[in-house]
Symmetry: C2
Subunit: 148 residues, 2 copies
Amino acid sequence: MENKREIFHVLTRRFGLLDKNCCAVGNFEISIVQSHILYEIDKQFEPSMQQIAESLAMDITTFSRQIQSLVKMELVKKAPAPQDKRVSILSLSAQGKFVAASIDHSMNAYLEEVFSHMNEFERETVIRSLKLLNEAMSKSSVCCKPLY
Amino acid sequence: MENKREIFHVLTRRFGLLDKNCCAVGNFEISIVQSHILYEIDKQFEPSMQQIAESLAMDITTFSRQIQSLVKMELVKKAPAPQDKRVSILSLSAQGKFVAASIDHSMNAYLEEVFSHMNEFERETVIRSLKLLNEAMSKSSVCCKPLY
DNA sequence: TATTTTATTTGCATATTGCAAGTATTATTT
DNA sequence: AAATAATACTTGCAATATGCAAATAAAATA
């Protein structure tokens, strides 16, 4: 039996570091959390505050403030939903889309670099495994809210 | 070609959530960062401040303050190194060891639960893949300091 | 219409972060 | 040996992030 905790401990730290490579796009300095928010808004269709906050398993009050920052930076737009004025629909501005695309591009480049240290067979196995792991985690009771 | 960013985005978030399940041991409330610190101190042999901070790729000033907290909680002990009085050697107190062991236990239980959603073959493949990924990341130039 | 529920925001109070500058000790240079 | 530089760590900010409790405002329900 492996020591899974050790593996995860290291991996978690490394993911955190990899994630830090995200966040300088031209003049914009963005935090990791903010990059995750941009990513989710881009991914979802006309999402509300709640939806994104829940997808990222963030506290809604913290999230609210992060959105305020991103709106101030003119990366995110917030519009009241026509059918329900309590709800705010989030979207990326043109700038926001540009920033999100830049981050996506560089993150993928970093990941390609990481995977370049494997052969083709390993690459495929690892990718397949990560998908399996994601599925298992989504089924798990102890972990992990973001539903997808 | 897969969208690796998507896979990593989700995985990173989930790891973060899983990690949050770490930190309540009896009366102690510990942060995620602090649980990582306890883990590393336990793992290494008579480590200095620098060594642990570097293993976790933490800023030394932030680390210094975290250690102060852990010392105040009586989970960590700090002793000047005999050969070099500038250096502080870190160790876990009895309580610290207990807390670290408790966290280790519950994290492993959580991980077992996650892996219970796979069959034996998948489990082995995934574990092997995570090790491969760790190795690749350690070779990477864009990522990821903790050396091991 | 009155009450409850839902979506989001604000008020705190606390914790975390990292840069710049400081202290103390050891190593190197002259 | 004295002066200088390098190292290990700590402290002073100042900015940012966090989350609970309470507030607001708009539906939904009674």
